[in-house]
């Protein structure tokens, strides 16, 4: 990379100085904006989590009281265990389907260029719109169940979205529908990057297609699995739009996730301190995923 700050001899030195400083000057606003918006606001949220804020922020220091209150709430435990169920199913099913679809699309299928955007559409559209469509589709009174009954399959029953024990799985269905095609695109890019020579060598050695995939190609996809995990995990922890559109956290608290919990405690239950504590815990969860990932990325980036 050529150094753009190299100067021609004889230029006036004040101008030189300015030109050398210019990159920093133009970078500063973006840097400051991100610093303030992300870290400034996060620090403030963190600070509020140690105060007695209720409906309004107040600055009486209460130490860890909000955290102990938070972890004593069955409602919060519900949100955390829902996140565990939702997150693990979402990540596993999306990765498996994504890899499967990528392998399917890698079989030199016809008009692949038309199919790829179709697989990607669910991710490109607003979660609010697709979530609402799914809500109506899964509603027993008007959606799938209703249609099946009209077609004469009277015993058909699909009432998960109204069922406290099953509603969380409708969230998984909609989220998997939304993200699988996107994970497919990640794996497809990975598959396209596999060196053909390795495959050819294996074929000459008489390896079957299944063996080639199982023993050579899928192990080579390890970095893609890792990126997919990081992307999907942070999407799961942040999940908000889809829950709001699909179930609104209900029935009862059956589909409450940390993000919806945080909103309801901060703004509708007037416990800003507890809301801030839950937001801080979500921040720690996401940081514990992305910091090691970024660290390893930067290290490998340096080596190459």
């Amino acid at each position: 990379m050529a150094e753009a700050t190299v100067q021609t001899a004889g230029a006036p030195s004040a101008r030189n100085y300015l030109q050398e400083l210019l990159p920093r000057i133009v970078l500063a606003p973006s840097f400051a904006a991100i610093l303030l918006f992300v870290y400034g606001f996060i620090l403030f949220t963190g600070y509020l989590s140690f105060t007695d804020s209720k409906m309004l922020p107040s600055y009486g220091w209460v130490g860890l009281e909000n955290y102990s209150k938070l972890w004593a709430l069955p409602h919060w435990w519900r949100a955390i265990s829902n996140l565990a169920i939702f997150g693990s199913l979402y990540i596993i099913v999306c990765s498996v389907l994504g890899l499967g679809l990528a392998i399917l699309l890698d079989q030199k299928i016809r008009a692949e260029g038309v199919l790829r955007p179709i697989y990607l559409y669910p991710m490109a559209l607003s979660f609010i719109v697709t979530g609402t469509a799914w809500k109506w589709f899964l509603d027993p009174g008007i959606g799938l169940e209703h249609t099946m009954h009209q077609w004469g399959w009277e015993s058909f029953s699909f009432t998960w979205i109204k069922d406290r024990n099953m509603a969380i799985y409708t969230l998984v269905i909609a989220a998997v529908w939304q993200s699988s095609g996107f994970v497919m695109a990640m794996f497809l890019a990975g598959l396209r990057g596999v060196d053909n020579e390795i495959i050819k060598a294996a074929q000459i050695d008489g390896a079957s297609n299944v063996t080639i995939y199982r023993r050579i190609i899928i192990p080579l996809m390890r970095p893609v699995f890792l990126s997919a995990f990081v992307v999907l995990a942070h999407l799961a922890i942040k999940a908000y739009d889809l829950v709001i559109a699909l179930t609104g956290g209900g029935p009862g608290q059956a589909t409450e996730l940390p993000a919806t919990f945080m909103y309801s405690y901060t703004f509708t239950r007037n416990s800003m301190g507890i809301g801030a504590a839950s937001a801080t815990i979500m921040l720690i969860m996401i940081a514990s995923i992305i910091v090691p990932y970024l660290y390893s990325e930067l290290r490998t980036g340096r080596r190459s």
Binding site: A2, F41, K108, Y119, Y121, P122, A124, A133, L294, L298
Partner: protein
């Protein structure tokens, strides 16, 4: 992989891939079709797929009852406005990082990008309080500011990757020929940077158009975009299915078009560069 695939396997794979594609697209397709039915036909027995009397009455009714176009114009103003403001900040920043890299430029970029992964709930309370104190709740200006800040990291990073592809030698050659910084920017850099800027703009308009966390929590009506309007159809009621579908169809139509052209950018942007 350029491997030999037998004709039979290729045909089966093609059929399977298209079937899955159809299933994936079905909920979207069904929404679009339902939007052209009467409320009565939306519930007809058995459901009608294509052979019904197509009508556009729902679109008229939605507009009449809830001034739909106001939500559309809010969506347009918010997504395009926030993108333009962000580009104003990001283009110089990305230019600086791509053409005058310092020792820590890569780290700085990674750091910027990592902030995009942070959950927005972490910033919700302070943003809400500031908006309330400054009277910015339910205002377009305030939302443009938030959306701009939210997407700034990804815009800077995306522009950087595009600018990085511009060969530095060309700039040096221009400088050797005595071009001033200004001339260098306008005549050499700008023409080569435009495609990258356009791609970034496209991705960001889509992201801002779909944004719901901030728009739902910071607007009530005056500045509410389409996402907030759709979310206001809270409970499934049979009487509104066709109308909701019409509203949804109009909300997704621009993205169905833009998404076709922006699929590469979407994957690149949403995976934070893991896929080039």
């Amino acid at each position: 992989m350029a491997r030999a695939v037998s004709v039979r396997r290729r045909t089966i794979a093609t059929a399977a891939a298209w079937l899955i594609g159809f299933l994936i697209f079905f909920p979207i397709l069904w929404t679009i079709i339902t939007s052209f039915k009467t409320e009565l036909e939306a519930f007809s027995t058995p459901p009608k797929f294509l052979f019904f009397e197509w009508t556009t009455e729902n679109y008229g009714i939605v507009q009449e009852r809830s001034n739909y176009l106001r939500f559309v114009s809010n969506s347009l103003i918010l997504s395009i406005g926030s993108t333009l403001v962000a580009l104003l900040f990001a283009i110089p920043a990305a230019w600086a990082m791509a053409f005058a890299p310092a020792k820590r430029t890569k780290d700085l970029l990674m750091w910027m990008l990592s902030t995009k992964m942070m959950p927005p709930v972490g910033a919700l309370i302070p943003v809400y309080l500031i908006f309330r104190d400054m009277g910015l709740l339910d205002s377009r200006g305030g939302l443009i500011a938030v959306l701009f800040l939210m997407n700034l990291p990804i815009i800077v990073w995306m522009l950087y990757t595009y600018f990085k592809e511009i060969p530095g030698e060309i700039l040096e050659a221009a400088r050797m020929d005595g071009a001033s910084l200004w001339k260098e920017l306008v005549y050499v850099l700008a023409p080569m940077a435009v495609p990258g800027i356009a791609s970034t703009l496209l991705l960001n308009v889509i992201l801002a158009w779909n944004e719901a966390f901030w728009t739902l929590n910071l607007t009530t009506s005056a500045a509410a975009p389409l996402t907030a309007f759709i979310a206001s159809y809270s409970s499934p009621e049979g009487l509104f299915w066709a109308k909701l579908s019409a509203a949804s169809t109009m909300a997704i139509a621009p993205i169905l078009v833009l998404g076709w052209f922006a699929q590469k950018q979407l994957v690149r942007g949403l995976t934070f560069g893991a896929v080039k």
